[in-house]
């Protein structure tokens, strides 16, 4: 069976005057049709870059330096712009982080929906509006007919994100990439929007790549996880296995940093130090300066992802290499 998405050794660099910066350093993962995956990590880990590089929409001066992205068996990373346009917003949709910024302030919701449909399908405006209405009701927006004539500033943040989700559904894509879709929303609305996204993906058997720093959200929605650190995947595998028994010290730290329900009162765990800047990634394992288990080898050799054949998933850490 061909994978829905197959990312192979993807390297993304940013061309700067001082030389090229590596933002993604050889990323590999696959996604089956209807599968939901979480890309997790702190800000600057490269998870958004990974998401955008799938549809080759990395902000300048970023570019794909090597590696391939296969979508339904086609190598879309080699597509020229005009061919890529057929994929973007059509077969792969994106949901952006901040719904306040995502919608064009001077165009009505209707215009922004209809143009998307008409960019990919030969349909009349009337028919396009019907599709738009249908998708708006699918995301449970009240009086969808009225919304079509409204401007983004007339809607609340939660409603705008619903509109953005509706836009991503317009062309019935087989994959949705959601870049921190709930980060900019109120906590109460976050859960609603997340539940909606999950429901929609299940109903239409859509694949989902959920980019987030929130492991809690990921564990509720996704089937597998890739944890990123400084441009690399440091651990990946089934969500359940990783959340219940994280192996990489970084993943362990992230999970310990989650607030636990019930008890309360105690201080939250935090991982000491900060994610290194892309210009000064430490040699060896990029995480070693923050790692409490750091050994000599961690400072010298970059660990590769590997599986031990017993535990599901892969981890890139020398701790487990010893026991191999």
């Amino acid at each position: 069976m061909t994978h829905l998405l197959d990312v192979q050794d993807l390297v993304v660099k940013f061309r700067l005057r001082s030389g090229d910066l590596t933002a993604l350093n050889g990323i590999n993962f696959t996604l089956n049709p209807g599968e939901r995956m979480g890309l997790v990590g702190e800000s600057g880990a490269g998870k958004s870059v990974a998401g955008f590089s799938i549809i080759n929409l990395i902000s300048k001066p970023g570019f794909i330096a090597s590696g391939r992205v296969l979508f339904e068996g086609e190598e879309i990373s080699a597509y020229p712009l005009e061919q890529m346009r057929d994929i973007r917003g059509n077969r792969i949709s994106m949901i952006f982080q901040d719904p306040m910024m995502t919608l064009n302030p001077v165009l009505t919701i209707g215009t922004q929906m209809v143009e998307t449909i008409m960019a990919h399908n030969k349909v009349s405006v009337t028919h396009a509006r019907e599709i738009a209405l249908e998708k708006l009701s699918k995301v449970y927006i009240s009086s969808p007919g009225k919304r079509l004539g409204q401007y983004p500033h007339e809607l609340s943040g939660g409603m705008r994100q619903r509109v953005v989700i509706a836009i991503s559904l317009l062309t019935n894509p087989s994959l949705i990439i959601a870049d921190e879709p709930t980060t900019a929303l109120d906590v109460t609305i976050q859960a609603e929007v997340m539940a909606l996204l999950l429901e929609l993906c299940r109903d239409d058997n859509m694949g989902l790549i959920l980019i987030t720093h929130d492991l809690g959200v990921v564990s509720q929605v996704t089937e597998k996880i890739a944890v990123m650190y400084a441009g690399r995947i440091v651990e990946q595998g089934p969500t359940e296995a990783i959340v219940s028994a994280p192996r990489h010290p970084y993943t362990q730290g992230l999970i310990k940093a989650l607030p636990q329900g019930g008890g309360g009162g105690g201080r939250l765990h935090q991982i000491p130090g900060m994610m290194p800047n892309l210009t000064s990634i430490p040699p060896g394992c990029a995480f070693h300066p923050r790692c409490e288990h750091a050994m000599d080898i961690c400072r010298r050799e970059t660990p590769q992802l590997f599986g031990d054949g017993q535990t599901p998933g892969l981890v890139a850490c020398h701790l487990y290499a010893q026991t191999r």
Partner: protein
């Protein structure tokens, strides 16, 4: 929207009242109308009588009220000492020349700056963009009279293609003395409008370029790319419509500046318009004419800015909401 327009018009009226007040105060404090009316062979007693008759001894505000009444009801804002005609009439006779110049320049600026600005924003590294930016730097830094004199030197004196001064042949179009409908008139218009455009164009190219570059970096433009829209639609609908907002604002103010720069242009090209008239009036201390010029330019300024605000409201949906407050 209707309430918004009404509000803007009311504001415009307030601004006009303030301008007329300043104009009137100037007139009151510069020169003595009686001396200018009578000359030296009139006795002091007779002067006082004339003064009393003209109401010049009344309190300032009463005189201002009378001035305002005359201005609003009869369009009378005083007599030009030099032309011996109502100042407004003199102004209106000369206005077409200046307005045509400004109109042609505005047209040229809109037609040239938008494509050039957009092009150099989309392809900032291309050779053409660098050329456009280079020339606009020169345009910004060279004073207008230098451009004007250079144009005259090259096209009138050396090449002899175009006339160097005057308006040429004009036709009367419903009382509007226009040079736009004769070949000769257009030929005369070419150099002055080029000079004035060369001065204003770079500013607009740079403004459109920098605004457009900023807009192209926004999330909603990125989202438009992610939606797979055709790039023409992204550039001209998504990006340009947002670029327009600040450009419209600056454009409104710059039309006023352009009228001020017509003074220099018209002087160099002996263009018989308002700017030329204004300089003459200054030399002759024709205060009524100066006040009339001030008020006339004020009216144009206010009308243009009101129109600009209304257009802004049409482009920017958020203004319409606040307008209802």
């Amino acid at each position: 929207m209707f309430a918004f327009i009404i509000r803007r018009v009311l504001q415009a009226i307030v601004v006009m009242l303030i301008i007329s007040f300043i104009g009137f105060a100037l007139k009151q404090n510069v020169g003595d109308p009686v001396r200018e009316l009578t000359g030296i062979s009139v006795s002091a007693a007779e002067r006082d009588a004339i003064r009393e008759k003209l109401g010049l001894n009344d309190p300032f505000l009463i005189q201002y009220g009378r001035f305002l009444k005359g201005a609003v009801l009869e369009g009378n804002i005083g007599q030009s000492f030099f032309y011996k005609k109502p100042a407004m009439e003199v102004i209106i006779n000369k206005a077409p020349a200046t307005l045509e110049l400004v109109l042609v320049c505005s047209f040229l600026i809109v037609v040239l700056s938008i494509p050039m600005g957009i092009y150099s924003a989309i392809y900032p590294r291309r050779f053409m963009s660098r050329m456009i930016m280079g020339f606009s730097t020169i345009g910004v830094s060279v004073p207008i009279f230098l451009i004007a004199i250079l144009l005259i030197y090259v096209f009138s004196i050396k090449l002899g293609w175009l006339p160097s001064y005057g308006r040429g042949q004009t036709v009367d179009v419903w009382g509007w003395e226009s040079g736009l409908f004769t070949i000769d008139g257009l030929k005369h218009l070419l150099l002055p409008s080029t000079a004035l455009t060369a001065l204003m164009l770079p500013l607009f190219i740079r403004l459109i370029r920098s605004e457009m570059m900023e807009v192209l970096e926004t999330e909603y433009v990125k989202f438009a790319w992610a939606k797979g829209l055709p790039r023409m639609r992204i550039w001209f609908v998504h990006a340009f419509k947002n670029t327009l907002l600040p450009v419209i604002t600056v454009g409104g103010v710059q039309i006023g500046t352009m009228i001020a720069f017509t003074i220099l242009t018209e002087t160099v090209f002996q263009w018989g318009g308002l700017g030329f008239l204004f300089l003459e009036a200054v030399e002759r201390a024709d205060t009524s004419l100066l006040v009339a010029y001030l008020i006339f330019v004020g009216v144009i300024f206010v009308v243009v800015n009101t129109v600009v605000d209304i257009i802004y409201g049409l482009v920017n949906p958020m203004v319409r909401i606040t307008g209802r407050k």
